[in-house]
């Protein structure tokens, strides 16, 4: 589904991704771990299409297309979802309005009819129940005055409504208490399916207790230093990131 080959990317004068390669297939859950500054969030932003990140070389292929040629909204409509590390507060834009606009942008792209108000509300309430979210969040401004946990649940709600082919969740677990972490994990697990891929970008192993990954990759200095199964995450937890750095440099 996603093939990244020798990707180099920078923001401003900082060269962050240095020859990163990664293959993700449908049905798989990948965890990308690594210390701060290793390039985890940059990878997520480049896949979503943020203008500030410049790709100097390498390729990203998504479902047989050159992903780097697509605008962010085209990527979204083609089934890529980025769960933000810091979801943006947008006062005055109704949460339900954005959810519906997002769902309809994708449906229109797929040549489907727009979802009607009744159907939309029913679906949104179902998904919110899984996430243990109060339906009144639908009528609030997007993330406006939400707590950290509420923002992350809201991201997962958007993901659940959009049913992406490829979901990248950037530090979705950071700043969550145990109840919120469980709710978010439940939302992610509910979306696991043979035709969908999920990439979890995380600093800690904690989330992986609830969402079991098929593959774990450790990022160091802008490329993947080590890949393995879920036991790699446990090793990291035990030995710390220095262990990977030493293994690479040594």
């Amino acid at each position: 589904m996603l093939e990244i080959n020798n990707l180099n990317a920078s923001i401003g004068d900082s060269h962050i991704l240095r020859g990163l390669s990664l293959n993700v297939s449908a049905g798989e859950v990948h965890a990308i771990m690594g210390p701060n500054g290793s390039g985890k969030s940059t990878l997520a932003q480049v896949i979503a299409g943020h203008d500030d990140y410049k790709v100097s070389s390498g390729t990203v292929n998504y479902k047989g297309q050159d992903l780097l040629q697509l605008e962010p909204e085209e990527r979204a409509r083609e089934g890529i979802f980025l769960g933000f590390q810091y979801p943006v507060e947008i006062p005055g834009v109704n949460n339900a309005y954005l959810l519906k606009a997002a769902v309809n942008a994708k449906r229109k792209h797929q040549g489907l009819e727009e979802i009607d108000a009744f159907e939309f509300l029913k679906l949104a309430k179902e998904k919110m129940a899984v996430l243990d979210m109060d339906p009144k969040f639908l009528n609030r401004g997007v993330n406006e005055g939400f707590s950290g946990g509420e923002k992350k649940r809201n991201e997962i709600l958007q993901m659940a409504m959009l049913e992406p082919s490829l979901a990248i969740l950037d530090e979705t677990d950071s700043g969550l208490d145990i109840d919120a972490l469980r709710a978010v994990a439940e939302g992610v697990n509910a979306l696991r399916s043979p035709d969908r891929a999920i990439v979890l970008v995380t600093h800690y192993q904690r989330l992986l207790d609830y969402v079991e990954p098929d593959f774990v990759h450790v990022l160091s200095d802008g490329r993947i230093a080590r890949s393995g199964d879920k036991s790699l995450a446990l090793q990291l937890e035990e030995k710390g990131y220095d262990w990977v750095r030493e293994a690479v440099n040594g």
């Binding site: 979503a48 299409g49 943020h50 203008d51 605008e71 962010p72 909204e73 990527r75 979204a76 409509r77 979802f81 980025l82 933000f84 979801p87 943006v88 947008i90 006062p91 005055g92 834009v93 309005y97 954005l98 606009a101 997002a102 942008a105 994708k106 792209h109 401004g141 958007q158 959009l162």
Partner: protein, 407 residues
């Protein structure tokens, strides 16, 4: 065909006295185009438009917005609309001004007086609650040639009453036109007024309007102003607080594009405390639009316990649009709480990107964020039954203002 209330010579003299850009309060707003319209009109004999029938643009507003409408067409008060006012405790009368002289007030007030055909007086008797808003529809049908018109409204809300008002300015026709309005609003002790002013004139029409409010003890004003149309527009809102416990909230929104010039000057005189005046104006500018916001609060000696807040936020969607924003605080008392904040900026790129990752294209994302910026003022507007109209109006106006603003 009616004629000017005062002689052509008087009119010519008043027009010659209009303020110039050398005066501090008029630094950014040039009235010479209005003087030109006036002089051309005088040269042609100073004929007023007929003012007999309510133009279609006016009846559409009456049908769309639920209110008891008093209608002023081309400066002439529609007497049928006066007769139709049947709310208990509300009276609307025509004031004959033919024997009045110039008050030698400000030149624009004098011009109002010189142009005035007849005045409108609205009274709400004590302890009355209006059942639906009292609407004042001011419409000019300047088809040809260029012309001038004036409206004067005296509103008296007696003690203990709760009243709501909609002042709607609109126009039809393509010729240059200048309209001058003066509104004096008097709030009795313990009364409460909700007041929404909407200006939606044709793009070639000009307007100056001055609203003066005096607040009684423990009275409350909630005022909200929306400017959508017009070529050169200047609004003065003067709030006079001479009685303790008064509270004035006045907010506004201006949307301007093309060559539009919209100037909002507010002034709050705090003569006693405790009392409060809070205002927030927002503007969205595209094209070559030039807007002015000048918010002045004067806390006079002894007005302790004054709480004055001013905010002005602007979204500039083109490189050539210009905003001159100026908060002014003059404080001569000790125990006061005053604050002001002004921002001028573009749309938040992080929010734009966030919306795009949810499938909205750049243009849609910009529209969504811009509407949300404007909607903050709609939600502060005190007459709920107007919200749907305002939301649609803003959405439509922004749609046309933002055409071609994508880089």
């Amino acid at each position: 065909m009616k004629s000017a209330a005062l002689s052509i010579d008087t009119l010519r003299e008043v027009i010659a006295r209009l303020p110039t850009k050398h005066q501090e309060d008029w630094k950014y707003t040039d009235l010479s185009s209005i003087a030109n319209i006036g002089n051309q009109w005088l040269d042609r004999g100073a004929e007023f438009a007929s003012g007999s029938e309510i133009p279609d643009a006016g009846t559409q507003i009456q049908q769309r917005i639920d209110a008891d409408w008093l209608v002023v067409v081309d400066g002439v008060i529609n007497e049928q609309s006066l007769a139709a006012m049947n709310q208990p405790g509300v009276s609307a009368t025509l004031v004959n001004v033919s024997n009045n002289k110039l008050e030698c007030n400000t030149p624009l007030d004098d011009l109002n007086r010189a142009l005035l055909h007849d005045g409108l007086c609205v009274s709400v008797s004590a302890n009355t609650e209006t059942k639906k808003p009292v609407g004042i529809l001011i419409i000019d049908s300047s088809d040809s040639p260029a012309g001038m018109s004036a409206t004067r409204v005296e509103i008296d809300v007696a003690a203990g009453s709760r009243a709501s008002f909609i002042e709607f300015h609109t126009s039809s026709g393509v010729a240059d036109h200048y309209a001058n309005s003066v509104v004096n609003l008097k709030l009795g002790d313990g009364s409460h007024a909700s007041y929404v002013r909407i200006q939606d004139r044709e793009q070639d029409h000009n307007q100056t309007g001055r609203t003066a409010v005096s607040l009684g003890r423990d009275s409350e004003l909630n005022h909200c102003a929306f400017d959508f149309g017009g070529k050169l527009v200047r609004n003065d809102l003067n709030i006079d607080i001479a009685h303790a416990g008064a509270a004035a909230t006045f907010n506004g929104l201006y949307l301007a594009g093309g060559q539009q010039h919209i100037d909002n000057h507010t002034r709050a005189d705090h003569r006693v405390g405790p009392a409060k005046s809070h205002q927030e104006y927002r503007g969205i500018l595209t094209g070559n639009a030039q807007c002015v916001w000048n918010g002045k609060a004067i806390v006079h000696e002894g007005a302790d316990g004054t709480d004055a807040e001013q905010a002005n936020h602007n979204l500039l969607l083109s490189a050539k649009a210009e905003i001159d924003a100026k908060p002014e605080l003059e404080i001569y008392a000790d125990d006061v709480k005053c604050s002001h904040g002004t921002t001028v900026g573009q749309l938040d790129e992080t929010a734009l990107f966030y919306l795009r990752t949810r499938g909205l294209n750049r243009h849609e994302a910009k529209q969504v964020l811009t509407r949300a910026f404007a909607q903050a003022i709609v939600s502060k507007s005190p007459i709920d039954s107007l919200h749907e109209f305002l939301t649609e109006k803003i959405s439509g106006r922004l749609g046309s203002l933002m055409q071609g603003t994508d880089e």
